[in-house]
Symmetry: C3
Subunit: 340 residues, 3 copies
């Protein structure tokens, strides 16, 4: 049971070229490519003739030609040519999916309803390249969507699973505050670590030394994406009453959570920062670090899935650190119920 009438990240913009890719999204096989006009296209990855994946075909002009018998489709999924005859059967059309290219991502609308353009995320931190520098990537996890939600909503795992990189002892010990915006299906988790040691990466890149205030404020926009607002500042200097916060350094950590199947999920990540803007070495460092961090999550969630498959009934013992994850589960559950 997938929540279809929402925007999900389907691909990094850099992944779509005139060589089609195949990706299973919300259980459906989707062929995606960029036609010669530069437009991104997503159609059902299944030729109606004999079921061959259209992603194995060839982009010719703005059309996609099936690699088995040459049935040809335009970017709306309409069949425009059939081999050996002039007449084109009306049943030969395939479904196309609305796509929107924005920043590092191509967003897709998998619902049967018309796409809700107002619901399309606006994430200025990843499009305003004058003030922000961003890096992005994607990983496929062989685990159910829900495990990734749990993982991202409880950052206390950083202390243990990512203790070689982003984890510090304070993350696990600092209490969290959780808010749920039920109307908009948003869960917010605040973790303010005040007067803690400045991690080496931040002291090197920001010039801050000694103790700092380090905030990790999560916003999970169920079901499809997540923002972690990381804030590093001198001790005791919160944002000003008008909201300005120029004396702090900010990192915006995005995750797009896109179910592939019932037991697989894509993890689209991106980091944007308002310091060292345009510094390619910092970009490379962050890509490498985050790739490692994500791989640690991939490994952990993959083994969770394997182990859970052998268990007749799941039991859990929840504690305070799980408040964010439990709130997210409640929001998702009510969305599923509302969709039925």
């Amino acid at each position: 049971m997938f929540l279809r009438d929402h925007w999900y990240v389907a691909a990094l913009t850099s992944e779509l070229t005139t060589k089609p890719i195949s990706r299973q999204l919300l259980g459906e096989h989707v062929a995606m490519y960029r036609n010669v006009s530069g437009q991104v296209v997503a159609i059902a990855d299944h030729c109606p003739h004999r079921g061959y994946p259209l992603s194995l075909g060839t982009v010719v002009g703005d059309n996609l030609v099936c690699g088995y018998h040459g049935f040809t489709f335009d970017c709306t999924g309409t069949c425009v040519a059939v081999p050996g005859q002039e007449r084109i059967p009306s049943r030969a059309d395939v479904r196309s999916y609305p796509l929107v290219e924005q920043g590092a991502w191509v967003w897709i609308w998998m619902g049967k309803s018309a796409p809700d353009m107002d619901a399309l995320p606006k994430l200025k931190w990843f499009t305003e390249t004058n003030n922000w520098s961003a890096v992005a990537g994607v990983a496929k996890i062989d685990a159910q969507f829900e495990y990734l939600v749990d993982n991202l909503l409880d950052l206390s795992h950083e202390t243990f699973l990512h203790n070689g990189s982003i984890g510090t002892p304070e993350v696990a010990t600092t209490p969290i505050e959780v808010e749920t915006d039920e109307e908009n299906n948003v869960v917010r988790v605040y973790r303010h670590m005040n007067s803690v040691d400045c991690p080496p990466f931040y002291s090197r890149t920001t010039g801050l030394e000694g103790k700092i205030d380090r905030w990790q404020d999560i916003e999970y926009f169920a079901p499809g994406f997540y923002m972690l607002h990381a804030r590093i500042a001198p001790v005791g200097q919160p944002p000003l009453p008008d909201g300005s916060d120029d004396h702090a350094f900010h990192m915006k950590i995005f995750y797009g959570l896109t179910p592939a199947t019932e037991t697989q999920v894509y993890d689209f990540w991106a980091l944007s920062r308002d310091f060292c803007v345009g510094d390619g070495e910092i970009d490379e460092f962050l890509i490498k670090m985050q790739t490692n961090v994500v791989q640690e999550d991939v490994d952990a969630l993959n083994i969770l899935q394997i182990r859970a498959a052998g268990i007749p009934e799941v039991t859990e013992v929840s504690v305070k650190i799980d408040k964010g994850g439990l709130a997210a589960r409640r929001v998702l559950q009510s969305m599923v119920e509302a969709a039925n």
Copy 2:
């Protein structure tokens, strides 16, 4: 549901030596080898003692000795020795299968009835080595038998799937004629491409230049084998009324289609030609080309099978190019019904 009372290719003759091989044919595990007298043998690949595969045993003289505990079988499957005792239990015999070695192939009769020797294919193009030169090979496809039938009966796919080698635009655009011989379970598909460009391979090997007539006439002898009669000739020079056709060049493309399981099939291929007879370089070229072509088919059918496994109900849109494949399906369906 396999059609058992028919001849199928079980192996290339070159595959059978005194080191047994194991092959699943029509769902049954078969051990095949050549005994020291040179005779080819096929018996059930399952020791009646504890179920060990007899193909892992050792040929000793004209017998096969099980590799686990030494139960010994002659070439009729009769158990002739048991370790540690003189008495041989009557239940210890295993089934043997009639084999016939002919040209490049060993044919097997998997039916419970007596083998129909009259039905054994006679394919002079692969045995008369004075006038014909043949090459042969085999591939295993992780897809159901029916997909290979579809593939071979509709050669319009050459234009797209094999466009780097044997595919030319005319194949897909030239109309076909289809005949069904219901009495003998034969489907014939005629595709006569007249006055078309001579493909490079043919111009190099035949001396023909410019435009040619290129015919592809299929005979599918359901269920187990298939002949593609390829004819290359100067434009407008059909065979003479008496059937002689010495002014043309002929390539006979054989396929043996042998189901392994419900979702796997062996694809035994062979090519024979009446030009450049005995030319080893041409042999090598053809082996390499055909191996690549078959691999393209293997890859395509494998992915079809994977994708179909995830689909609740198969839907298709058939067009004119599918007439041969649809005729073959009807013949196979009526054979299955007659066998029940």
Copy 3:
């Protein structure tokens, strides 16, 4: 249906260090490690919080810290720390398993009942290092426990499966005697090969030449372990009436049979000898030879399991060599019935 109230080998002592290992035993995932005090510990490999394998955690002092969120357990499985709070939920404890370290092995008690210390095997041949030299190893077999029992109780397979190493023709042809001790669940199989050629290994290491008496006496202590008493002696010189047997050479071949799952079993092997004691080259030779022998068994049993999975109903033809295996099956069957 596993027989739980018995001792099984869980690991080689050398496998347990402060880096935990995970092993599935009798269907349960078990985390095993050695704490900083040197004590061996086995607890359920499943964090009660979110199900992460505890074997992926870190040993800190005498505790194990979960690698995902830091739940911490002592060596009795009691949860002693939870991140972000003082209170520890009582449901957070995990099961621990009694372990006993002895010779090359760590024995585990998987039953719910209290461990039966009297039932713990006493195998002096593997602990009295003054008079005996032992080597040990382990292999995982992707086949059901029962296949390994069959394999070990019928050594006639040595002649065929291990004909390149330990198999000689006499093993298969020499009749066996079988005794069943139903009260203690022990099956004994005697195979006395008298006046046979001395295998090269034994003549090289014992100095015996020409014909010898070679005895293979099996004791299978169902379900978990097995001793093969191999005895090499000059022809016609049995042990003395008082049981002393100093004129013979002895090899004690141990197998621990520990079910992993319904279709997987661990094969813990060890060899001990009372000749060439302390000779490291002989140790290395025996490790290499036995590793090869065990791999031959692994390969054979793996293929048996694969083949059996495709067979609707198992049929067998049993002969005299199977008497030991059939006796073992009867003992195991009555143990299963008694346990229900």
